[in-house]
Symmetry: C2
Subunit: 336 residues, 2 copies
Amino acid sequence: MTLVACIGGGQLGRMLGLAGLPLGLRFRFLDPSPDACAGEVGELVVGEYDDVDALVRLADGADVVTYEFENVPVEAAIGVGAVPGSRALEQGQDRLREKELFRSLGIPTARFGTLAETGLPALVKSRRLGYDGKGQRRLDVAGAVDDGEIAEELVAFDRELSIVGVRDGTGETRFWPVGENVHRDGILRVTRSPAVDAPQAEAEAICTALLDALDYVGVLAVELFEVGGRLLANELAPRVHNTAHWTIDGAATSQFENHLRAILGLALGSTAGARCVMVNLIGSVPPIGELLALPDARVHLYGKAPRPGRKVGHVTLLDPTDETVDRAVALATAAL
Amino acid sequence: MTLVACIGGGQLGRMLGLAGLPLGLRFRFLDPSPDACAGEVGELVVGEYDDVDALVRLADGADVVTYEFENVPVEAAIGVGAVPGSRALEQGQDRLREKELFRSLGIPTARFGTLAETGLPALVKSRRLGYDGKGQRRLDVAGAVDDGEIAEELVAFDRELSIVGVRDGTGETRFWPVGENVHRDGILRVTRSPAVDAPQAEAEAICTALLDALDYVGVLAVELFEVGGRLLANELAPRVHNTAHWTIDGAATSQFENHLRAILGLALGSTAGARCVMVNLIGSVPPIGELLALPDARVHLYGKAPRPGRKVGHVTLLDPTDETVDRAVALATAAL
C-alpha cells in the first residue's frame, strides 16, 4: 500500500486524500491542530512544521512526502525530501525572490522593489508569510518600507486570472483552462473556468517557464493580472490551488489526482475541462439543503469549524446559468 | 457535524464515506474485521453484527444508521433503527420471501418453489446468506431440496439487467439508467450503462412497486433477466449496488450520494447518466499505471488485500470504444 505523507492537514490535504483513496493510496498528515480536517481521510501527526520529531514521524515509511501550503519551513521540506522540491518553496515564500524569478525568466510583472521603483500609490507587502490579503497595506504618499517588505506598483488590472499546471518527473506538462477569479477583502470568492476569451497560450507559456526553471514536479499555480490585454504574473503557489477546485467535478482529471500522479511517477491524466463556476464558502456554511438544491451543483464542505474569513467549503456549478451563479453567491454571502 | 453510522465496513461503506465526506458528513462503521477498508474514511467499531455492545457503540450519537449489505441480522437493524427499514432486509435475506414479494406485487419471476413447480433443470439455492453465486447448485435430475433451500427454474435469459433506484422519505423516487451486466462464476464482471435498447420504463415500474411496497428510504437495486423481450425479477438488494458503481463518475449524482441524501432527508439529486462501462477488478489489482493509462478511465481501488474471487476495485470507462473495454477486461483478467 502506497503511503503519501503531507505537510499540512487543511482542506487541500483533505482533498488530496479524497482524490487518492480511490487510487488505493493511504495518507498521513502533519498539522499543529488536532482538529485538522484532513485527519478524516488519513492518519494525523499533531506537531509544528519545524518539529523534527514530528517530521520524522510524518515521513516514516512514506513513499513520498508533499505539502499543501507554501509556508512550510524550507529546512523541514529538505529534511524529509518533500516534492515539489525546496526551490519552489524558497521562491514562493518570499515575494521579492518570487518577483526576481519572474523577471529572470522574462515574465512580465508589476513594478516592484522600492517606492522609487514602483511610484505611488503602491502596495506594501510583507515579503514572507502573507496570504489571503494579510500583511498588505496601501501607500498613497511616501512612507517607510522595511527590509522585510516589498513595494509593488498598484496595478489597475482589468481582471484577475490564474493558470494551474502540473509537471511530472519526465518533464511532461499539462494545464487546466485559465480561470477568472474574483477576490473580496483579499479572499477568493468566485472562479469561472474557462475565463472568457482566456489567454490560454500566453498563460501556459508563463507557467511552463516556471515549471521548467524550478525543475518542478507536481501542481503549480500562477496568479495573473490582465491589463490592457497583457498578462502580469502576480504570485505563484507551489501547491494545489483554490482557483482549480472546480477540477474535482469539471475536469477529466482533478488537480488533486494529477498532483498525486506526478509526485508518484504515474502518467498524468487529461486536464480537459467543462464550463464551471466555483463559489467559495467563507466564514460559515449555508444550509446544505439549499446548496444541494442549486441545479448541477457539487457541494464540498471541509469539516472545519466556522470562523470569520475562514474557507469552510466550496460549491462547483456545472455549466450554470447566470441566475444559478447569482443564487449561489447570494447563499454564500448570506451565510457570512 | 452529522454522523452517519453504517453496519458493514467494506467497499460499499467506503464509497458511501467518500461520497459523504465532501458533504461535511462523518462516518462510523461496524465490521468484524479490524482491516475493514471503510476504516480509512471513518471511525471503525470492530465487532460482530449481532454484538449488542458493538451495535450500541456504533449507534451512539449517530444521526442515522444504515447498512451496506443485506445479511445484517434483522434484530440488529431494528435495534438501532436502521434505514432502509427492516422489512427490506427480511425480504432480501430470504430468497423465498423475496420471490413471494415479487409475486404479490405482480412482478414476473422465474418459476420457483419445489422441483414440481420449477421443472428440471433447476437451480437450487440456499434461502439465506447466498451472494456472488455462493450457495447454489444445479439439478438436472430430481434430487433433494431442503427446507432451507429454494428451487428456481433455470432461465435461458437473453441478458442480465439491473435497475437501481432511490426513494426519499416523502416518497419521491429517481432511477439511474438500466445497466446490462455480465457475470462469470457468479461474480459481476462488467456493467454497461445504459443497456442497449434498455427497457427503462418497465424496469422502473418494477423498482417503483418494490420501493413503495416496502415504504423504502434509500437506494434499492433489482437484478433482472430479460427473456424474449420480457423482464423477470431475479433478486433485490436493499443497498447500494455494484452494478451502479459507474454512477460515481458517470452520473450527475452517484448512488452513494443519493443514498445519503435520502436517509438524511435531503433533496435527491439528478440521476442523469453518461454512457459508461464499469469493469470489476476481482482477486488482484492490475498495475495501476496501466489502468490509469486507459483513455477516460476512472480507477477505484478499495484498499483490500488481494484474494481469489474478492472484489478489490473497479474501473469506470467514460464513453469508451470497444477496444478500450476489451483492454480493460484483459487487464482485469490478466491480473487474476
